[in-house]
């Protein structure tokens, strides 16, 4: 597109989950990979997240979930994005996502599913290689 196109990523934590070490480590790694990373902090509702996506216009969104509420929250976020006509944002999820829950989340368009022990490089590559615009 131009001389200074930067990948912009939103890192966020939906729901009542205060464990954000992982989100911070990821934000730092994406920053060090040359991306512009917005970190929202903890306790974000689906509406908060969708409003932030509308205003910040990121290329990718990374949801960090360790609370077990992913089946309840992630589909709501995806529905609300769709309702707002947003279909060109890569949405990845990481944290603790049991294998049996992945098909449902995939059906809603979520990608990634990076759990504990993932190499940060792998997530950086995932963001770089799966952008939708």
């Amino acid at each position: 597109m131009s001389e200074s196109r930067k990948i912009k990523v939103l890192v966020t934590k939906p729901g009542l989950d205060g464990h954000d070490r992982g989100a911070k480590v990821l934000a730092r790694a994406l920053r060090d990979a040359g991306m512009e990373v917005i970190y929202t902090g903890i306790h974000q509702t689906p509406d908060d997240i969708v409003n932030t996506i509308i205003q910040e216009d990121p290329d990718a969104v990374m949801l960090s979930m360790l609370s077990g509420a992913h089946n309840a929250l992630c589909p709501v976020i995806m529905e609300k994005l769709k309702a707002n006509g947003i279909d060109d944002v890569l949405v990845g999820v990481g944290g603790i996502i049991p294998d049996e829950d992945k098909p449902l989340l995939k059906k809603h368009g979520l990608q990634g599913f990076y759990g504990p022990g993932t190499e940060l490089k792998e997530i950086v590559e995932f963001v770089k290689n799966n952008l939708k615009r």
């Binding site: 597109m1 131009s2 001389e3 200074s4 196109r5 930067k6 912009k8 934000a27 730092r28 994406l30 920053r31 060090d32 990979a33 040359g34 991306m35 512009e36 990373v37 917005i38 970190y39 929202t40 902090g41 509702t45 509406d47 908060d48 409003n51 932030t52 509308i54 205003q55 910040e56 216009d57 707002n84 006509g85 947003i86």
Partner: protein, 330 residues
Amino acid sequence: MDFSNLIDKLIDGDTRAAARLITLVENDIQAAEKIINSIYKYTGNAYILGITGAPGSGKSTFISTLTKRLITQGKKIGIICVDPTSPLSGGALLGDRICMKENFSLDNVFIRSMANRMQLGGLARATEDTIKILDAYGCDIIIVETVGVGQSEVDIFKSAHTVVVLLVPGLGDDIQAIKAGIMEITDIFVINKMDLVGADKKVADITQMLELGMNFKYSEEKTETNFAKIKQWTPEIVKVNSKTGENFEELLGIIEKHKNFLSSSGIIAIYKINRIKNETFQILKYKLTKKVEKLLSTNSLIEDYIKLVMDKSLDPYSMANLIIQLLGME
């Protein structure tokens, strides 16, 4: 690329169009040029409030509390938060939203985080353009949060109607208060975190600093009209607690007073001229820098010049003059 569809939507107040246009002006100066060209006639209605201060002085929390008050007055608010770009990786961590915990509605508050992309001065290249987009979008007040500043990042003074500098108790002594730079461009001093020990001392330091300058204002010939905004206004000081909202009513009164001062003194007209001059200068600087960079990396004569400088048969100033001739600008 054709932006007319997005621009029509922007003028109608469409939030996604505003967001997308901001992305475009951030990433592409050619797009920025076309976009600003189309929307410029719709700008000039918003009041621009600059918020600056050291890292950790509480700018984001302060803005969140201030915005909460302003929207009760029925105002539509735009917020631009600038954070630094890494000189090592070119990436950035934009964390100002963390401290803006109020659940603002999309209808009346638009928050945008922005990396400064290595521009000095406390703002990003795209900040001025983003102000215009939010202005055309329909914001009544645009709050610009600079990067956490040290002493000399004063660009906000050229863009904002009112500059608020946040200070916190316990940082710096009375000598810091009379240093040049950021302390001189301030319209309103806010002593944030007033519940901490030393808040009154801070107020006293600033008061004394202002009193030291009472009888000797800047000499006319040096400051000309560029600094009229500063010369005729004596900065106000207010201490606040951004967590509880204490003293924010007083602060809003002071902001209103400064706004009225700008129009009643006629300084608003000088401000507008200065802003146009400064902006154009910035654009020229950017474009000419790009032109010079291109010349330096493509023109084969440059290598020869470097050799001549190495041999001491040319010096860097003379080489610069030769390059200016190459640019055909002399």
